[in-house]
Symmetry: C2
Subunit: 206 residues, 2 copies
């Protein structure tokens, strides 16, 4: 049986969301129509407002509602360090860890030639001009630990070194609180290959 046209349209629109299949789309559509019409109205308006007002920061490409985002325009941030991440969600995760007070650069993806994602798509030109700022001394490459993430980090590191600045990569290894027997073997081999002498480790902590 066919749903009525508007309902059909709503189901299709829900199905475009990631992770939403036919059954879930039906559950969402029926829920809002039966029990939460205000919520549906709020969602429609929030989507339109976000589409209208949310742009990319002209400096770091993070989501922003002005030309420059809150972090780039913040007076208390350390502009000598720039952390490069793949997505806005990564910025939120690092901010939540409260371990970094520098600036960011958001790639919105990672190099993946087969998917047509090259230097232009990840904003390489904008990245080059961001790291050219005299204040920047170190660029932390925090792309993901996947083949594509590593390739992206290697490519960006070459751009950083061209400008005579320091490129660093976040550490990879056994997660804190992780039990060795449950850690996957690639992480373990990375943790062993990247081992640090105990003296150096205690100096790092100091």
């Amino acid at each position: 049986m066919q749903f009525s046209p508007r309902l059909q349209q709503l189901l299709q629109a829900f199905r475009r969301l990631p992770g939403v299949g036919g059954k879930t789309a039906q559950r969402l559509a029926f829920h809002v129509l039966e029990h939460d019409r205000d919520g549906a109205r709020a969602l429609a308006e929030a989507l339109q407002a976000a589409l209208r007002d949310v742009v990319r920061c002209s400096r770091c490409r993070m989501f922003a509602e002005a030309e420059v985002c809150g972090i780039c325009s913040g007076p208390t941030r350390d502009s000598s360090t720039l952390c490069v991440v793949e997505s806005p969600a990564d910025v939120m995760a690092i901010e939540d860890s409260a371990s970094f007070r520098g600036m960011y650069f958001v790639l919105h993806g990672r190099l993946s030639p087969l998917d047509g994602i090259g230097p232009a798509e990840i904003g390489a030109e904008q990245f080059a001009s961001a790291i050219a700022a005299p204040a920047v001394r170190e660029v932390i490459l925090a792309t993901s630990a996947t083949v594509e993430g590593e390739a992206t980090a290697a490519y960006l590191a070459s751009l950083v070194r061209e400008q005579g600045k320091r490129a660093t990569r976040i550490a990879h290894g056994v997660p804190i609180g992780g039990e060795l027997e449950y850690v996957d073997s690639s992480t373990l081999s990375r943790a062993i290959a990247g081992r640090v002498t105990v003296e150096q480790a205690s100096r790092d902590r100091a």
Copy 2:
């Protein structure tokens, strides 16, 4: 760290959907803003169109875009049988099984006094006038096999009998293709209590 106001608003709107928590809301919002702005626009418009045009059928309370839905106005349906279900999704499920050619009545819930859902909320008055139609001879109670669903069926059955019509309940038991050892014990005890003699069963199949 706080998101920008529009983004915050969008996250909150997504979180109102059933089964969507903070992480999922963030994934959905970032996905539409980064990769599918057209999809977000389509969703906003589909929501608003559905809110404007989707109403309840004045006869069966199914979702409709006219005063009377496609099933109620369909010329090929058997108006002697009325099947009562809890939600529009149940109508779709029965239609997909292609085992019923009669009319429907959608309760949009089930009796649950503790949640403030009484006869008025499930449309008891409209139900009474629907079954009063001279053509209706049998009412199939297809509410769910829960305590509230059974109570709702019992209440509606009394309304049906008041009008001197036949009230039936869908069969409950072991699902087709289900292996006995994996069937839960309440279903099994129901299947045993509701056993039918083999002669009757073969006559039913004929």
